[in-house]
């Protein structure tokens, strides 16, 4: 009798897992993939826009933030501006890159409404999720691993237009 009950219980458990948990998990994973693609496209087009115009301003920044937040996750966005600089020891000229990072760039945008870069500089955006994605939350709920960023991307390159 007890054995029969255990078989039934096992059957019910398997039904619950296969009918509810697995489809939910897969659909959340799919949503993560969609969010990743959206974030990647947005980061690529935003960095492309900045590289083409040579500056970042408030309007561009706000639009970018509002688009990526539409995915329902929170992100850490880091900006990296590597200004091409030259140094000479009297014999040869050496190129090195002087970095300006997120906080300074945001401060500059807040005070001047615009952060300007020069042609030939490098500009990169690093992004990763700080809140748990739906898939990660669900994994945590069922006791699976949910560590690390599920969505992360790097985009950028040489500034093609700007001050010389």
């Amino acid at each position: 009798m007890i054995q029969d009950s255990l078989w039934k219980l096992l059957g019910i458990l398997i039904c619950i897992v296969m009918l509810f948990i697995v489809p939910t998990m897969l659909s959340y994973q799919r949503q993560d993939a969609i969010a990743y693609n959206l974030v990647l496209n947005e980061v690529n087009s935003f960095s492309e826009q900045i590289r083409e115009v040579g500056y970042i301003d408030h309007a561009m920044l706000n639009q970018f933030y509002s688009t990526i937040q539409a995915t329902g996750n929170n992100y850490s966005v880091e900006f990296e501006h590597l200004a091409k600089t030259f140094s000479s020891d009297g014999i040869e000229i050496k190129v090195y890159y002087e970095g300006t990072y997120t906080d300074d760039i945001i401060d500059m945008i807040n005070s001047n409404n615009r952060y300007t870069m020069k042609i030939g500089d490098f500009f990169f955006i690093h992004i990763h999720n700080t809140s748990l994605t739906k898939s990660q939350s669900f994994n945590q709920l069922v006791g699976l691993s949910s560590k690390g960023a599920s969505i992360q991307a790097v985009s950028g390159g040489v500034i093609r237009y700007g001050d010389t």
Binding site: W7, L10, I14, G120, F122, A153, V154, G156, R160
Partner: protein, 242 residues
Amino acid sequence: MGILKFGIIGFLIMMPFFYVSYCQTQMDYYQQIYRDSIFQSIEDASGDAAFAMKTYSESSFDALNSYQIDVPRENVVQIFFDSLEFRDFAYSKLDFPFMIFVEYDGVVVYHPASDTYYPKAYYYRNKEGAIESVNLGDEFLSIDSIDLTTSPMSQVEEQKEHIILMTIESCLNRVSFSLGLENECIFELPETDDGFYSVATDDLSFIVFYSSSRYDGLGNLELVDIKPSGIMKMKEVLPIDI
């Protein structure tokens, strides 16, 4: 009850297969993302290099009053590698067996491992400096047989593309032989009539060959792509194979 037992036992037997299939699918998905990010990084970095090539090249006239364009190749290569490095992309120079500068008067193949440049002009000049023939791989076409004034524009473009591609092919093969890589890299550019290569021959361009030895775990990368500033995936033999 018997049916329930059989059902559960059958499911438990099938479970490992479902699990392996699920893991394989997940692995393929992450591999694909990883591959895409690798190729995107290389493509963007080569785009940066091509931009530098077009922006920093200087033009002048020499003593014979002919137009000279000086491409700062070292600078372009440096920008390519800098750009990769800033993207946190792990690489060594051995991952890039060849790089090609497509210039206005010829192509230059760069071999990063030995830091050597191999130039090859599109045209052969006689002792007086006049253009005598154009390079078409193993054969030479007399300049007199090309009539640029009366030929339709599309035909001229086609001829230009053919000349550039043949020059790239013969130069790559010659470099391959000279470096003893003839068993690994033999180049044979297939004929195309759909303008596939025209993007790389329209203007100055920078082409990078990428060998994925570092990412062997990602399986066979079958992407072959050529752009004005693009990448070409190397296979063991016949890297440019469409």
